[in-house]
């Protein structure tokens, strides 16, 4: 019976992942980094990485999950958690439904239980296509619930960040999600459990200044922009041109804020290895 459910789960994730990995355009896709054209099929097959220069295209949440979870282990948490409009902000409900139609998601975060290399874990992914992956109350709540689920079930936790920062339309309640998620991680950590934070392009603002920076281990995808303030704001503030590579994953590694820069095609294997290395530490 278990295997029937596993097959159904595998199919479900595969379907959602295919929709997520959709790259617009006809047969060819132009890399925004090297400006070279590649065959769309080739890019899609290569985990949405430019075959010419290694640029990592942004990818959707379900597709991301399909690239790291063992087949048939995906089980979504709080899938139906609704988006909210706590300030009754003009035009915001329309923005939310447009984003929902565009992505097929209810909000910018997807959380799940699954296994990587045979080891059970909780995985959360922010989806940059949904209002720039910004932190709404629903995103904060989903991430917090995932952290609490991992705490309760003594499971390792992996969160993929991709966010433009706060959700402006939710004002102060967006800000409060920073405290909420960070506090939940404090309780998680006290149980002696492992949290791996993976920073993807871009990770900025309130997400950087909360759960994304609190991993026991912090990984980043190559070239990902990672910072608190965005480059434009910094440039306006200091009135100077920013150095080449500023705030990129490699820069953050050099400055001591990232353990390792891991290309997408090595992510699953790296995570599996880290889970294996922490197996004893997973029990209090």
């Amino acid at each position: 019976m278990n295997s029937i459910f596993a097959k159904r789960r595998a199919r479900l994730l595969a379907m959602k992942a295919i929709r997520d990995n959709y790259i617009p355009g006809d047969k060819l896709v132009t890399c925004p980094h090297c400006q070279q054209e590649s065959e769309k099929k080739l890019v899609a097959q290569g985990l949405s990485v430019c075959p010419k220069c290694g640029y990592h295209f942004p990818i959707g949440a379900y597709y991301r999950l399909s690239t790291i979870l063992d087949p048939g282990t995906f089980h979504e948490l709080n899938e139906k958690l609704p988006a909210a409009d706590p300030l009754a902000f003009p035009g915001y409900p329309e923005k939310l439904s447009a984003a929902q139609r565009k992505t097929g998601l209810t909000e910018a975060a997807v959380t799940a239980v699954g296994a990587i290399g045979g080891r059970k874990c909780v995985v959360g992914v922010l989806d940059n296509r949904f209002l720039m992956g910004s932190m709404s109350a629903a995103v904060g709540e989903k991430i917090t619930l995932a952290i609490e689920y991992a705490t309760k079930n003594k499971l390792p936790l992996i969160l993929f960040a991709a966010s433009g920062g706060a959700r402006m339309q939710e004002g102060i309640l967006s800000l409060m999600q920073m405290a909420k998620t960070s506090a939940a991680l404090a309780r998680f950590s006290e149980k002696g459990l492992l949290y791996i934070s993976v920073l993807t392009d871009p990770t900025t603002g309130g997400v950087t200044a909360s759960f994304a920076s609190l991993g026991d281990i912090i990984l980043a995808e190559p070239g990902a922009l990672i910072g608190f303030a965005g480059p434009r704001v910094i440039q306006q503030t200091i009135g100077e041109t920013l150095p080449e590579g500023f705030q990129r994953a490699e820069y953050q590694e050099e400055h001591g804020f990232v353990d390792a820069v891991v290309p997408r095609d090595q992510m699953r294997e790296t995570l599996a290895r880290l889970l294996r290395l922490h197996e004893k530490g997973g029990r209090p």
Partner: protein, 273 residues
């Protein structure tokens, strides 16, 4: 309480240069202040002032953002925009407060964490995140008072408190109305409009249970009668501190956790969708 001001008027009052600031509060409410400098990692940040002092005869740790009043002072403390060293110093002092079982009192008045190149290179985001996490589990009473403008993660990094108090004309928001308008509408001149939508005034925030109490101000704002305004702040802190002092360390941490846990928790509105 003073007359009803619009949100934009409150922003102007909150930013008034003659409004009582951290130095004024230290002089008026505390005795025997010993300033503690440095984050013990790489630097000192004048944008955050902190140390140990006596509050009504009792040792406390006081930490506050510092803007300065004259241009010279403004420049010295970077207009109250902290660098990572400031937040790390604040965390060091808070952990020390816990060690010596002293309450932590923070005074918040900042336009935000400094968005500079060096601040980024030294991990502004990490510094703020670490404070949020560590503040959530402190086992001593923590009271935060927003005395001017409390903007962004740069304010919240001193604001994970058991009681968050706000002066009547202070404002607390995700970022400045100018920044908000610039991000949302690509037009910072629409900041007046932003003020109304952002729900950044003390009554708005009390209604959303983001803050716990409003401290009244003299007619027209704290800058018009600073001595009275500071006495009102003193009374509010004393009252809340007396309540918190009765609780155990574990209860204080648990209560603080629950307070923030509830914010924006699964929609208190209709549940059918």
């Amino acid at each position: 309480m003073s007359e009803n001001l619009t949100a934009a008027q409150r922003v102007a009052v909150a930013r008034h240069p003659q409004r009582p600031n951290i130095t004024d509060y230290l002089n008026a409410l505390f005795t025997d202040f010993f300033e503690q400098k440095g984050d013990r990692l790489c630097g000192e940040d004048a944008a955050i002032l902190g140390g140990v002092a006596l509050y009504h005869g009792r040792p406390v740790t006081v930490i506050g953002t510092r803007k300065g009043k004259t241009l010279e002072e403004n420049l010295q403390c970077n207009f109250g925009m902290p660098n990572p060293e400031g937040y790390r110093k604040a965390l060091r002092l808070m952990k020390q407060a816990e060690k010596f079982r002293r309450p932590v009192l923070t005074f918040i008045d900042t336009s935000g964490a400094y968005p500079g190149l060096e601040a980024e290179a030294r991990g502004q985001g990490e510094a703020i995140a670490r404070n949020l996490m560590e503040m959530s589990r402190l086992t001593v009473p923590v009271i935060a008072v927003i005395t001017g403008e409390g903007n962004s993660g740069g304010a919240l990094a001193l604001g994970v408190a058991n009681r968050v108090l706000m002066q009547e004309n202070a404002v607390y928001a995700i970022l400045s109305p100018e920044g908000f308008a610039s991000i949302l509408w690509k037009d910072s001149s629409r900041h007046g409009e932003a003020c109304d939508l952002m729900k950044l005034t003390a009554p708005d925030l009390l209604g959303m249970q983001v803050i716990d109490d409003i401290i009244p101000e003299p007619e027209g704002g704290a800058h018009l009668a600073p001595v009275i305004a500071m006495r009102q702040v003193d009374q509010a802190i004393s009252r809340h501190l007396a309540e918190l002092t009765k609780e155990s360390g574990a209860a204080l941490a648990a209560e603080r956790y629950q307070k923030f846990r509830k914010m924006g928790a699964a929609a208190p509105q209709k549940e059918d969708s």
